[in-house]
């Protein structure tokens, strides 16, 4: 939930002297005068446990995924057998995946298209709904700002599963939504919301991930200099022109950050789909991975799908990391 608001500081760019700490022999002499010095290993020693942790539990797992995706399959039990030596890696899992996606009768292809469509629709809806809300809270909330902010943050503290469970209750055939629609004669009979409807899944994704968008937009809009808006208004721009010509361009970074932080988890989502639809008619890439993990002999396919997903999402992920790094550098100046 830490948005671009609280990014870490990367190493300073070359040429920027920055605040130097006593380092090396010269520095040691300099601070020896001051009475105390830090040994050269002092700061790295703090980072070592975290580094070891990340190597063993973050880098190593991906090597295992590669070894399985490019590995062999046990001829008897059909379980994946990892091949640790990269020289012997074999891409047959990817050929199989390719056939299942693009080949004749490729039954995985639609899931990729569907994932893309649902995520694009849901992120766009998130942006359209969240922008006015974040805009209002930063510009017009006044003294109620703190309270409104608490209300906007509230969904973060409600378990995701509970929020989906709430909608399952409401959308059941005899649930409140159907009863309301039937009693107001908008529908002649209950609509099967939970039986594989793309609309339900997309709206479920919006409901699930919109708090991230609100927070990212709030953080960005809160940094927009109010004096610029006042200047625009003073110079005769209408409300709408001020918004289009000043506010909107200044919040471009926040919009991009918001889109990335909502879309990335949506791409890996499978549980929203399982709870609100459960039908293969709406299954997404996340469901494919989950199904492959759950069925015996499909471990290799799961590994291949995970790698494909990582490659497809590399651009937004790296873009986000770069932009937070840049924001931190600007803040540090």
């Amino acid at each position: 939930m830490a948005t671009s608001e609280a990014p870490p500081r990367p190493a300073p760019p070359p040429g920027d002297p920055g605040p130097k700490l006593p380092h090396g022999r010269g520095a040691r002499r300099a601070s020896a005068r001051a009475g105390a010095w830090r040994p050269r290993w002092f700061w790295p020693a703090f980072a070592v446990p975290g580094m070891v942790w990340l190597v063993v539990l973050f880098l190593l797992p991906f090597y295992v995924v590669l070894s399985i995706a490019f590995g062999a399959v046990d001829p008897l039990f059909r379980t994946p057998v990892p091949v640790w030596n990269p020289v012997q890696w074999n891409p047959f899992q990817f050929q199989l995946l390719f056939d299942r996606v693009f080949g004749p009768g490729g039954f995985l292809g639609p899931a990729f298209v569907r994932t893309f469509l649902y995520v694009v629709a849901a992120s766009a809806l998130c942006l359209l709904l969240a922008y006015p809300v974040a805009y209002y809270v930063t510009r017009y909330a006044g003294r109620r700002k703190g309270l409104l902010l608490v209300a906007l943050l509230a969904p973060f503290w409600v378990s995701y599963m509970m929020r989906m469970l709430a909608w399952v209750n409401l959308l059941e055939n005899d649930g409140m939504v159907n009863r309301l629609l039937v009693s107001t004669r908008l529908l002649a009979e209950p609509f099967p919301w939970l039986a594989g409807q793309p609309v339900t899944v997309t709206l479920g994704l919006v409901y699930g991930y919109i708090p991230y968008m609100v927070l990212a937009l709030y953080a960005g809009l809160d940094r927009v200099d109010q004096r610029l808006l006042e200047a625009a208004r003073d110079l005769g721009a209408s409300r709408r022109r001020t918004f289009v010509l000043v506010t909107l361009p200044l919040s471009r970074q926040a919009i991009l950050a918001g889109l990335v932080v909502t879309a990335l988890p949506m791409f890996g989502d499978y549980f929203t789909n399982d709870l609100l639809s459960g039908s293969p008619r709406t299954s997404m890439v996340g469901n494919l991975i989950n199904d492959a993990i759950g069925s015996p002999g499909q471990g290799g396919q799961a590994a291949a799908l995970v790698l494909v997903m990582m490659v497809l999402l590399a651009v937004p992920m790296l873009g986000y990391i770069r932009s937070t790094g840049r924001a931190a550098r600007d803040a540090g100046r």
Partner: protein, 289 residues
């Protein structure tokens, strides 16, 4: 009407209505689910009167009397406490190290840490599952594997939050302490750590609340029904055999994380007393999150 529309300083009524609509949409479904956890009947959509049947009155199906639900509740809390205890110290040390050490290696690890933050959880979950079932077979699936996975996934929160705070602290206070004769360790303990405490605390609250909510990682790394926490229980039964006991479980979960947040907020306010005005405490706490 026309005059109202063209008034350049009119109050943004439409926007205001939209905000209230949004808040209602985001809160009402959950509020209704909480409300039905007190239903005396089996239904989760028609109200049959108030009771505590699904909390403890029902001798078989209530949360209190169903050992499965109870175990799930305790397991969620256990994972949240253990993960916070491991991830926060590890992350704080990592943040201090990365922030002060500035090497190429540090930059590389900073990148890895950020990558773990943006990576969709299912990718890390599958990768860790394969690690524990193929290479590090000594690690049993279940609580240990879940703890290791959760710490990896949550590590970025304390690091990101503490580094932002370190950026605003700077190193002058520490240098001053050392010029006055403090050893590096003493300067760290008596100057830097107290200054960092609000960030450490905020990240602890965040990690705790996030782990209670975690689903993808804990589900893949669980061994059997005994190591399935509340979120997995809700997932398993939401579409199959739902009684309001499930709503009751979710309600308990909701109130336990709300309690953690409220306590966290109060302590945060104490820790940052004198630093910021009362008004912006909420915003400061929110910004940390």
């Amino acid at each position: 009407m026309r005059r109202w529309l063209t008034d350049p300083w009119r109050k943004p009524r439409l926007l205001e209505a939209l905000v209230w609509g949004y808040l209602a949409w985001s809160v009402l479904p959950v509020a209704i689910a909480v409300w039905f956890s007190f239903n005396s009947g089996r239904s989760r959509s028609s109200w049959q009167g108030f009771s505590l049947r699904w909390y403890w009155e029902d001798p078989v199906l209530s949360v209190w009397h169903d050992p499965d639900l109870q175990r799930a509740l305790l397991h969620s809390l256990r994972l949240a406490v253990l993960t916070t205890l491991v991830a926060v110290p590890l992350g704080v040390a990592f943040a201090i190290g990365l922030d002060r050490w500035r090497g190429r290696l540090a930059a590389g690890f900073n990148f890895q840490m950020l990558l773990s933050f943006v990576l969709p959880e299912i990718i890390l979950a599958v990768a860790l599952l394969f690690l524990f079932t193929n290479l590090l077979k000594a690690v049993q699936l279940g609580t240990t594997a879940q703890l290791l996975g959760l710490v990896t996934f949550q590590l970025s929160y304390p690091v990101i939050i503490c580094r932002a705070r370190l950026l605003s602290i700077g190193n002058e206070y520490e240098e001053a302490a050392m010029d006055l004769g403090a050893s590096p360790v003493k300067a760290l303990r008596h100057v830097l750590l107290p200054l960092l405490s609000p960030a450490i605390f905020a990240s602890a609250v965040l990690v705790f609340a996030d782990v209670i909510d975690d689903f993808v990682l804990v589900r893949y790394l669980s061994a059997d029904a005994a190591s399935e926490p509340m979120s997995v229980k809700i997932y398993n039964s939401a579409r199959s055999s739902p009684t309001p006991a499930l709503n009751a479980l979710a309600t308990i979960m909701l109130f336990s994380s709300l309690l953690a947040i409220a306590l966290g907020f109060l302590v945060y306010r104490r820790l940052t007393r004198g630093e910021r005005s009362q008004e912006s405490t909420v915003e400061g706490f929110a910004a940390q999150i």
